[in-house]
Amino acid sequence: MKKYVAEFERPIIELETQLEELKKTPSAHKADIAREITYLEKQIAKLKVKTYTNLTPWQKVQLARHPERPHFSDYLKGIFSEFTEIHGDRLHGDDKAIISGFAFLGSYKVIVVGTEKGKTTKEKVAHNFGMPHPEGYRKAARLFELAGRFNLPVINFIDTPGAYPGIEAEERGQASAISNNLKILSDLDVPILSTVIGEGGSGGALALGVADRIFMMENAYYSVIAPEGCATILWGDAKKAEKAAAELSLTADKLVKLKLIDGIISEPLGGAQHNKEEVFADLKSTLLKTLDDLTKINVDELKKRRYQRLMAAGVFSEKDNLDVTRGIKILRGDADENRSAN
């Protein structure tokens, strides 16, 4: 079965394929090629380090979308225990793009919600490739409210290209479903921890992303618009996505510098799939430590800080550096000044 590779990974894969071939050499000749094998292994290691330690934003986007990358369901199994799935929004349906329920995180009882993309083709279709309809956000909303009433911290996982852009989704109030979640989360009486584990696709991601602490996997991206969409709007060419990705500052390292997220979970060279257990353990301990801290804080204080963090998100100037007097003076009714300006 052909293994998926991102474009920029090809050189590595080619060398690895060569190595596999070499290793299949009959044992009679093993001594001859022993040095070749060692050499090749070193080359591969060097190439990996070179490739993966200075990933461009676009390369990270490709890794974030990598089909072998662990999905929410993997994190669920790797980090939580006794997951008890809850279905339905009590209104219209059970959206499988969002999986949610109760679970234990260490000894903490929590509500866990995440977008699931699915692995096999059948699963992907069932989970709608991780793109929720309003029903999915409304299911999440219901679980957030349950969490608030029963004092269960909320642990959210984000990995979605975005809210599903379909006709029924629009008709059933996709915008409203998202805004309602933003509102519920902003006012929730329990700690909220959100982690972007792959794709953080705009509003559809933010609907699970209003939190007391936001983490990102090292290679995840979080963007107001997909690079392709951005490229189309700016240059009329979706293929300029690489350039758009660079402009958008959508990578974890950029976002933590801008103080828009709280921390980054490291990934092994090449992406989380290369050592899932380590990644799960890392994230788990980060979440646990964070819960230890946040559950000590009084809920009113917690919410006050959450509010302040939200209010601090934004960059602007109090003074206008461009003198645009006409419009404003007209507002104030300085008719004389306008006549003279004319």
């Binding site: 809210a163 996709q174 828009l260 509010y307 934004g314």
Partner: protein, 293 residues
């Protein structure tokens, strides 16, 4: 300066656009919807609604203030808050240049004007977006000004009216723009916990991050007729589902049918309807004398 002179000035300063929503120029013009000929004066008298087919042309923020707020009662707040360029975003031009250009073309500082004014004598906190300013897109400044508007409303126990016209979140500010969705929503939540009324007027177009945050949280949502209203734009939907979208499926009328908005109201009735709604949502003893237009 006479009103028609102001109109002409406004017109010269507006971005020249083939957009059928932009107010047409010249003494005579052809309606973008019904193609009938209309006098400039006629258009002015109807607040820029085609007298023949009711096509609602876009209004600038200042024109909208004239429409909804009693004469000489508007006081602008947060008037100097301006955008910066936190990501050093550069496409065909630098973000900073786009902002400066928009400021010069529109005479505005940003895509929203906020302030306090009277609506049929009732004091309101009002925010009006302007589509001409980088597509009415929401960046840090729009978010901040909305929050300040809400804070003022809470301090002074005022109802809030917001008029939207937006293509969504402003790309050039990346995640900062996305965060404005959460920021404005959190402020709306505080407003609503005070049981202060919040009415939102959706005008053409209102989409994306604005629709998916403060716009859809209003107590009462009113749309102008045939406005484009939705989350994802029709082109992106078509690319995703690989079919054409149904005719007018993201229109005010369709959204009303699908239960997503409270009312569709023609421009000429907008001020009185907002006044009426605020009458109902205000404390029992407060009913302002309505001056019917």
């Amino acid at each position: 300066m006479s009103i028609s002179e102001w109109f002409k000035r406004e017109d010269r300063s507006s971005i020249k656009s083939k957009d059928k929503r932009a107010v047409p120029e010249g003494i005579w013009s052809q309606c973008a919807s019904c193609k009938s000929t209309i006098f400039q004066n006629e258009l002015f008298a109807t607040d820029f609604v085609c007298p023949n087919c009711s096509h609602h042309y876009q209004l600038s923020a200042l024109q909208r203030i004239d429409l909804l707020i009693d004469k000489d009662t508007f006081n602008e707040t947060a008037k100097d808050v301006s955008s910066k360029d936190p990501l050093k975003f550069e496409a065909t031009k630098k973000y900073k240049e786009s902002i400066d250009k928009a400021k010069r073309s529109t005479g505005l500082k940003e895509a929203i004007i906020t302030g306090k004014g009277s609506l049929y004598g009732r004091p309101v906190a009002i925010g009006i977006m302007d589509f001409r300013f980088i597509g009415g897109s929401m960046g840090s400044v729009v978010g901040e000004k909305i929050v300040r508007l809400i804070n003022m409303a809470i301090d002074e126990s005022l109802p809030v009216v917001i008029v939207t016209a937006s293509g969504g979140a402003r790309m050039q500010e990346g995640i900062f723009s996305l965060m404005q969705m959460a920021k404005t929503t959190a402020a709306i939540d505080r407003l609503q916990k005070e049981n202060l009324p919040y009415v939102c007027i959706l005008t053409n177009p209102t989409t994306g991050g604005v629709m998916a945050s403060f716009a859809t949280l209003a107590d009462i949502i009113i749309a102008e007729p045939k406005a484009l209203i939705g989350f994802t734009g029709p082109k992106v939907i078509e690319q995703t589902i690989k079919q054409k979208v149904p005719k007018e499926f993201q229109s005010s009328e369709k959204m009303l049918e699908h239960g997503q908005i409270d009312m569709v109201v023609e421009r000429k009735n907008l001020k009185s309807t907002i006044g009426q709604v605020l009458d109902f949502l205000s404390p029992a003893e407060v009913v302002y004398e309505k001056i019917r237009s």
